[in-house]
Symmetry: C2
Subunit: 247 residues, 2 copies
């Protein structure tokens, strides 16, 4: 969703309404106000692009840009020939930005520390196999801790398919975080994300410095690159963590 710099007309000092140039943002704002006011009611069909272009006195492409934006935002539903319809139950879309832990910690003004806890080859458990694909062969299993100012903040458990990310196996995980390596070397991947709450397992609680059974925020992620499974990771955040975003 494009941010809305909107200007193009710098509001002078006390300059009244101003005729305001016709930009696609203008059209979008006007359309949105009709949606809010109910002039365009839920489920209803709105006028087609050509009609709106005439009404607003602009090119059809400009109307298209505005309506496309509203459609992406989930307010409208557009289909060729069928026209543009106001969505009945606008599904809220929240965009989470998943930053690299190191960046997130350093952005908060804290010192970052990475500590490798374990590293071994082993066949992944069934659940991980399913998530990664059909892998029964041994994978790299690594656990690590991310600390802020020396205080444990996130526990990371990771399974890496050797076939998916050759190179990662040779990395010295003691000094380089697996995620940092992946971001640098296997960019532009796709995958699945899952958020949940869980009771901290004993050994993880010990690493995080909290009581076993504490409620912890868990992020699980499967990373793929063009059909090839690369890695499964579970990040367990120390109690108190919050993931925030604007709607």
């Amino acid at each position: 969703m494009p941010s809305d710099p909107s200007p193009r007309i710098a509001a002078g000092h006390e300059t009244p309404p101003a005729p305001e140039a016709i930009t696609w943002q203008t059209i979008r704002a006007r359309a949105l106000s009709r949606l809010r006011s109910g002039a365009w009611a839920p489920g209803e069909l709105i006028p087609n692009e050509a009609a709106l272009a005439t009404e607003f006195g602009c090119a059809r492409a400009t109307v298209n840009r505005a309506l496309r934006d509203l459609a992406e935002a989930g307010y409208l539903e557009r289909r060729r020939k069928a026209g543009t319809r106001v969505v009945r139950n606008p599904v809220r879309k929240a965009t989470l930005s998943i930053a690299i832990i190191r960046d997130e910690i350093e952005a908060g003004g804290h010192s970052y520390e990475y500590r490798l806890l374990s590293r071994r080859m082993a066949p992944p458990p069934r659940a991980v196999q399913d998530a990664l694909g059909t892998n029964t062969h041994p994978c790299l299993h690594a656990c690590a801790l991310h600390l802020a100012d020396g205080i444990p903040r996130v526990h990371e458990e990771r399974w890496v398919d050797p076939g998916g990310a050759p190179g990662l196996m040779e990395v010295d995980l003691a000094t380089t975080g697996a995620n940092a390596w992946l971001v640098e070397n296997v960019r532009y991947t796709e995958g699945t994300l899952s958020l949940s709450a869980a009771a901290a397992e004993a050994h993880i609680a010990a690493h995080l410095g909290c009581a076993p059974g504490s409620a912890v925020f868990v992020l699980e992620r499967v990373t793929r690159m063009r059909e090839t499974a690369i890695t499964w990771v579970r990040m367990t955040y120390a109690p108190g963590y919050r993931m925030t975003t604007a709607i």
Copy 2:
């Protein structure tokens, strides 16, 4: 992010590669492959739109469309005069679709039930006051339960500013969920979302039918409409809940 229907050329039966028409999706794919291959390295400046348009043999507007899409996806950073740069640490963006609980439950093939637990006027606690704005006056406080097949799934606690949503105060909350009302009557709002894990408080645990202190997934949301605070809500999900999305 626009889905990529990509066609425009219906793949005939066994028709080889096909010259492929030049659409903005084509350009985007080509650009993305350069990003993946490292031909356009992180931090680097890529050729400007005019140059790419010449190279790809299309109009500048088409290149613009493609690059704008990649920028929205977080791969590129574009600035006037400065040019287009490959982002160093592509921040993953996960889009969560926050559905109305009722829809979510019914989509899962379960029967939905709403049960109002309490309703009263009271001054909100400090934390809620801060979130909503500077409201010291009494607000509506309502608690409710959402059930799937008769089993409690989500506990909802809500504070409503009477000034923000007149009309909601008169709604018969016993039969109409506050959220459903809001969606129907105060659409196109903005706000903040926060996800976390917490230990279930005793009274909430009792309603959800789980042990006090169980790890539960909590979603807090502040809803505004053009600067006016409308409502603060905390949804507590029964243990086992997972929020999933594709990256």
